[in-house]
């Protein structure tokens, strides 16, 4: 117990739920192997798709002798979830399932995920550990601005903050002026939302004459969309809080798969419940530690819907070495991009995160943007729409035109191709559940 207390950082008291964060590596691996065997056994016996995939590969659950053997198991993809819509991957009968969530699904059917009571408890515990990792504790007042509903963000953060013993304000997303009033009047000390929504909130507070830096707010736990290191800098300098990155996905459990500690150097994965691998996104071959590739996750304890080697499409790397915070949980680098968000424009690879970084290079701009791709006479056109903020707005045409030019130059510098920059009115870019829709591809496939 003494060692554990000495390892915890800052003034936050040690949370008993955080004990697994500090398991010695050998014990953690043993725990993972035991859990992996039983979850694969469960998937085999209860889910026809998992069983037939394993049979195709000539594998049975009993073949798993070590953690390395996981590489022989088949992958599960988002397409499998769609193809088995709605309940095809459930491993529990409905009477054992206490909760369903679903992804918003931009095209076609959503994907549906399920939880038994035990699953909800695991989810709550990893969210409690996530918040504790960010230095939150009982006594904190947490404004939960993630959307409540089918989206996992709202309820996931809610249960976690409540489990921690903090006071939760279940304000959900939207109604920015009310968010600011509540933040100020209720003495909020921590907030959960998407990073882009929080930045919007900070701007609006400025318009209303509320200085976030003067409020008790000290931490933000931000997730549900990829964000860059420059975005973090902008958030922290504009609001005076520490901004933590939290990672998760509904297919695995929701938020609470991995989170940053106060060292903010990679996200600790809650490995006792989620087993991480990094694979080559093209070939699916396992990559060694430290190499960048696609994150693949296996749920080690999820009963209602076990996920075997789920292809997340998120590009990251497992970081070698031990974090100074003392957690033995391995870290992954923050997600900058997804394997499926790469755009090819006139033969050049473009990632939305590059556009975000280019915008942040320009003084006074905020990364409220949307990329619109069109095709004119066989040539790809890329337009970047940028919402005008009070900070960058001027009453003089020349100032706005020079700003437009600086953004355009910065984009060309980062992307290597010229993009049309259009300044648009605030809040014209579509957002769903606080997540900004970054890309609209209007190019039609030429016959």
């Amino acid at each position: 117990m003494n060692t554990v207390t000495a390892l915890s950082t800052g003034a936050a008291p040690f949370q008993p739920e955080s004990a697994p964060d500090y398991l010695p590596a050998a014990i953690l691996r043993e725990l993972q192997l035991g859990r992996l065997r039983s979850i694969v056994e469960r998937a085999w016996s209860a889910v026809p798709l998992h069983r037939s995939r394993m049979k195709e590969r000539g594998i049975e659950p009993g073949d798993l002798q070590s953690l390395e053997d996981i590489a022989a198991l088949p992958f599960t993809t988002k397409a499998d979830l769609r193809d088995t819509y709605p309940f095809g991957l459930f491993a529990s009968p409905m009477q054992d399932i206490v909760r369903l969530h679903a992804s918003s699904g931009t095209t076609g059917k959503p994907i549906v995920v399920a939880y038994t009571r035990e699953d909800v408890d695991v989810w709550t515990s990893v969210m409690v550990r996530s918040f504790a990792t960010c230095g939150l504790h009982a006594g904190d007042i947490v404004q939960n601005a993630y959307g409540y509903g089918l989206f996992t963000g709202g309820l996931g953060a809610h249960y976690g903050a409540e489990g921690l013993g903090a006071t939760v304000i279940p304000i959900s997303g939207g109604n920015t002026d009310r968010q600011i009033m509540v933040m100020r009047d209720f003495g909020v000390t921590a907030i959960c939302s998407t990073p882009s929504y929080f930045l919007h909130l900070v701007e609006r507070a400025g318009q209303l004459g509320v200085d976030i830096r003067a409020l008790p707010l000290r931490a933000g736990v931000f997730g549900a969309e990829p964000w860059t290191a420059s975005m973090r800098k902008r958030i922290e300098s504009a609001s005076g809080i520490q901004a933590f990155d939290i990672y998760g996905l509904s297919e695995i459990i929701g938020p609470g798969v991995a989170v940053e500690c106060p060292h903010q150097d990679g996200l600790h994965i809650f490995e006792d419940h989620f087993y991480p691998e990094i694979v080559d996104p093209e070939t699916g071959r396992a990559l060694p530690e430290g190499e960048e590739g696609e994150l693949v996750l296996t749920t080690l304890s999820k009963l209602a819907m076990p996920m075997i080697r789920y292809r997340t499409r998120d590009i990251t790397a497992l970081m070698p070495g031990v974090c100074p915070c003392g957690r033995s949980l391995r870290r992954m680098r923050r997600i900058g991009r997804r394997s499926d968000d790469m755009l090819i424009v006139r033969g050049v690879n473009v990632f939305p995160s590059q556009v975000e970084a280019a915008l942040l290079e320009v003084e006074g701009t905020l990364p409220h943007y949307q990329i619109i791709l069109t095709c004119e006479q066989g040539l790809d056109q890329i337009e970047v729409q940028v919402e005008v903020t009070p900070e960058m707005f001027s009453d003089q045409i020349g100032v706005l035109e020079r700003l437009n030019q600086r953004i355009s130059d910065s984009l060309e510098h980062v992307l290597g191709i010229r993009a049309q920059v259009t300044l648009v009115e605030p809040l014209t870019i579509q957002r769903s559940e606080g997540k900004a829709r970054r890309v609209i591809d209007r190019r039609t496939v030429q016959p």
Binding site: D177, D395, Q396, I397, E401, T422, L423, V424, E425, L427
Partner: protein, 143 residues
Amino acid sequence: MKLHQLSVFSENKPGHVVAPCRLLAQEGIDIRALSLADTERFGILRMIVSDWRRAKDLLEQSGSVVKITEVLAVEVPDHPGGLADVLEAFIGTPINIEYMYAFPFVRGEKAVLIFRFDQPDAAIERLQERGFQVLSIGALEER
């Protein structure tokens, strides 16, 4: 002497200028002077209104980006040379005019020029030295 001008960002698309104007009309706010500066892709609607603080709040609540700038209203006789006389007052001074717009009044044979100077205080001094009348918001509303 200095007036508070509201500038509102607008996309150069059909219907985009009407929304802020309609909003102010519904709230009983009078637009005293107005100019629209536009480029191919966007425009800036500049206005002097009866209650600039309330107008700013209303426009911001409706989602517009608003900037407040100090401008001067100068009254000149509405005859040829009225504008040139004012402009000449600044030749050889370090004071620059960023932009201006003008409108005549039916009564009184006077015109009012709205100036955005880079140094409004120095400009007021210069104008008064030369005998031009710089209008307060009250004086502008009486016209």
